[in-house]
Symmetry: C2
Subunit: 333 residues, 2 copies
């Protein structure tokens, strides 16, 4: 559990894309951050006010979150100076970087001296059990994709937002680095030992009220040969009552796998649903989300209308249209 | 790579079952061991001659392999005395125990002093890549099960034995602790980090001669919610050209999962084959193996004949009948 509120460290991000983790936190959990911290030359702005460490501390910030990707896998001295000063002032640090805070001796020493905590969200923190498959109370929904990076996390966060607005009970359950930094907790599933993957998802989505929905962040794809095992563990550990199919229609091949074509949404449905019903025989596919960022508005609407007709399911781009119709579909289940 | 030949340590195994790892090595790689070492009170015998450490050393043994399960997860002092003496005499040690040799300070100290190696085969030794899905040369076969522990390793070893006898080119590729101890190398797949599972299987089964078969040891089951992700990674990382379906027909529920029934062999086929064709469109199901140990000979033969008729595939119990017909099916592919 990472303590909020945050101060978002954008460092010397060359552009907006480099600060997409900070942007995700600012977009989806605006109340979790008091402001942003930028170094000279920073080309990103996530729309929060700039603050010094002192101002953020006064505003109640507990954790400095590294919301920017670093170049070359090195934590630069310019960053290091800020991080060390933050520890000295009593901040915790949180990071999803590949190179770990805990591997930096000066940060470890400062954290020990000043009583701060270093959160490397790529590293599992808990001893997860082996999955036992016992049916849990409460409801769960999972987005599965025709490929990696087709908008499954965005779908989950938009759905959570829509459900909260409709006063439904829901919790976004993070399974990746960005999701964990956005919400402050979760399971870094791609870093979990094989035997404990499904168990970690059970652990993440425990018994709950009958009308509560866990919205589980999807990972990978059953059709992506590098990561399909992770997706499988989400489907069986998550015991979803509802699946959402996610797709990006302009992609020429599976991400990082030239020569591998994306499955159709029909094939995804017919593959994922029977597998989900192994763990939860009541599971249903309730809707489709499409990332239409590479299509014009007209193209996108026509594509979604066609999908609705052919698949008989609500089909939305949650970025353009929100996820209200998916929330309604869950409420009707 | 664990150096052979072995001396098999049976310790104070209370019965034959406790020494099943040693039995597997003695059964499948009899030339890999010079003998067995038993402590007073040992109730197991894997059919190799008893040897002292000195006799084994003279016979050329390089590694003392712990072929017995330990009770209570402790390495007892009686065992420790033998292991320390073996290191002092220049043996390496190999173990698949849950508690690791490397966590025992006296063993680590002795290994350093005498230049021995401690092999804990539950721990991955290599940095595996992320799977790239690139088509590899050579052929691969994988057994997939309706459940865990239905005879997939036995199927693979019997198939390897049959193919060797027929002068076909084949290599058994171990993915579990027992398999690794039997052959001296492999990938402990259930201990690999999620992101690298499929990549570790690619690494284990690299490019080979066009007429060479890698026989990949199966793990888990697509229908076992605790371990299905591991099975998925084997199917996609292994790129099998051929699948074998494995089953144990008398089991009342999935292993360790009361309330979960086993799928039929038809459902297993219709689930596994389309998933395998994502990575290898040419994949075919070539046969069925059944563990009939809980059936009489007549029952078993009738069951297998019925399966052959209904599924249109050779169906054998490799323990009772060998795997020659499966080797023939692969040769005909």
């Amino acid at each position: 559990m990472i303590e909020t509120p945050y101060l978002l460290f954008l460092g010397d991000a060359p552009d907006q894309l480099a600060a997409k983790v900070a942007q995700g936190i600012a977009d989806w959990r605006p109340d979790n951050s008091v402001g942003q911290f930028r170094l000279p030359g920073c080309g990103a702005d996530v729309g929060l006010g700039d603050m010094t460490l002192e101002q953020a501390k006064e505003a109640g910030a507990r954790t400095l979150v590294i919301g920017v990707a670093n170049r070359g896998g090195m934590i630069s001295q310019a960053w290091k100076d800020v991080l060390l000063q933050a520890l000295e002032m009593g901040f915790d640090l949180a990071s999803g970087l590949h190179n770990l805070l805990r591997d930096e001796r000066d940060l470890v020493a400062a954290a020990q001296m000043f009583g701060g905590t270093l959160h490397d969200v790529r590293v599992p923190t808990d001893a997860y059990p082996i999955a036992n498959g016992v049916k849990r109370t409460g409801k769960r929904v999972l987005a599965v994709g025709t490929d990696c990076s087709v908008g499954k996390m965005y779908t989950a966060l938009a759905l959570d937002e829509a459900m909260q607005r409709k006063s439904m009970k829901s919790t976004f359950r993070a399974t990746g680095q960005t999701g964990i930094l956005i919400t402050g907790h979760g399971v870094p599933l791609d870093a979990v030992i094989a035997d404990f993957m499904a168990g970690s998802v059970e652990y993440l989505t425990p018994d709950n009220n009958d009308d509560h929905w866990d919205i589980i962040e999807g990972q990978g794809s059953l059709f992506h040969v590098s990561y399909s095992g992770v997706t499988m563990a989400l489907i069986h550990g998550g015991q979803p009552d509802a699946l959402i199919l996610s797709h990006e229609p302009t992609r020429a091949h599976m991400r990082g796998l030239p020569g591998y074509t994306l499955p159709t949404l029909e094939v995804l449905r017919d593959t994922a649903l029977p597998l989900a019903r192994v763990a939860n025989p009541a599971c249903e596919v309730v809707g489709i989300t499409v990332n239409t960022q590479h299509m014009s508005e007209d193209e996108a609407l026509a594509y979604l209308a066609e999908l609705e007709a052919s698949m008989g399911l609500p089909a939305v781009d949650p970025f353009r249209q929100g996820a209200d119709r998916l929330a309604d579909a869950l409420a009707a289940l």
